[in-house]
């Protein structure tokens, strides 16, 4: 058992233990922090697999972006120190049973299937190769999905602004002539 193996098991334990805690704790802020450590564990697994670019993207987008967004929305919507309400034991039991059955079936299927693993191992992917492939327009390139994702992000940004915008108070001023500090009452 060498160092790499030990690191793999440590990362796996970090990911899974924090994942279980994240879905089982009753304090929502702690759930967000456990989720943070789960995502860090997955980023560590990407590093362990030699995919440094994906690990960096994972840290930047998930740990630096999504978790911070979730924590801010918790601040905006929860009262301090308030615990989540307890769930019915029947619902928990049913969910646990369904999850165990699904997990068992999946694992049995995976371990029965013999994957063909090629003997040669690939070289670590460089960031320059990723960038060239992402923007190349030939058959193996990913220029079209790249553009589609950029359109999706733009649409999501506009959608967020529209959804989260406060509704304007209806005033009886003319829309073109109203000024914010002049209410127009005579």
């Amino acid at each position: 058992m060498n160092g790499s193996t030990v690191i793999f098991y440590l990362l796996a334990a970090l990911t899974l233990v924090n994942g279980v805690l994240s879905v089982s704790t009753r304090q929502i802020f702690r759930a967000a922090i456990y989720l943070l450590f789960t995502l860090i564990g997955i980023a560590g697994l990407y590093f362990w697999l030699n995919y440094q670019f994906i690990a960096a993207v994972q840290v930047v987008v998930y740990v630096g972006g999504i978790v911070v967004l979730i924590i801010f929305s918790i601040f905006l919507t929860q009262q301090a120190g308030e615990k989540l309400q307890k769930q019915k034991i029947g619902r928990k039991l049913f969910a646990a049973l369904a999850v165990f059955c699904g997990f068992g079936l999946t694992i049995i299927q995976v371990y029965q299937h013999a994957f063909y693993e090629p003997a040669e191992t690939g070289v670590p992917v460089s960031v320059a190769a990723i960038g060239q492939k992402m923007l190349s327009m030939n058959d193996e390139g990913y220029a079209l999905p790249f553009e589609v994702v950029s359109m999706l992000l733009l649409a999501a940004m506009i959608g967020c602004i529209v959804i989260a915008m406060k509704e304007k108070k209806i005033t009886d001023n003319e829309p073109g002539t109203s000024s914010p500090d002049h209410t127009g009452k005579e």
Partner: protein, 104 residues
């Protein structure tokens, strides 16, 4: 069996997926349900990377799928949080039982 390989990573990602499903089934708070969805998406990403690494090491397809899934997950989380905050403004609660009022 002890040295980590493809099967170990598939085990981790399957476990993470079903942890996310468990959270999604038991939680009634919209933010914690969103966290469960993030766990599920991460398990899918881990699967793509593992298959790319062990089965097709010369190609980069799984890597690109992961990059695009991360981008879509970011957009999805931002939109979901905008909807959640809007729901909180009108109902002072983010319980999933209140979400059916959104259609009115």
């Amino acid at each position: 069996m002890l040295a980590p390989g493809l099967y170990h990573i598939l085990f981790i990602s399957a476990a993470l997926f079903f942890i996310g499903v468990y959270g999604f089934l038991t939680r009634r708070n919209l933010i914690t349900m969103l966290m469960s969805i993030e766990l599920i998406l991460n398990s899918v990403n881990l699967n793509f990377i593992a298959f790319n690494k062990y089965l097709w090491p010369q190609k980069m397809d799984g890597l690109f799928f992961t990059v695009f899934i991360i981008a879509i997950a970011a957009a999805e989380a931002a939109l979901a949080i905008a909807i959640i905050i809007n729901l909180y403004r009108s109902h002072q609660s983010i319980d999933v039982g209140n979400a059916e009022d959104l259609k009115y």
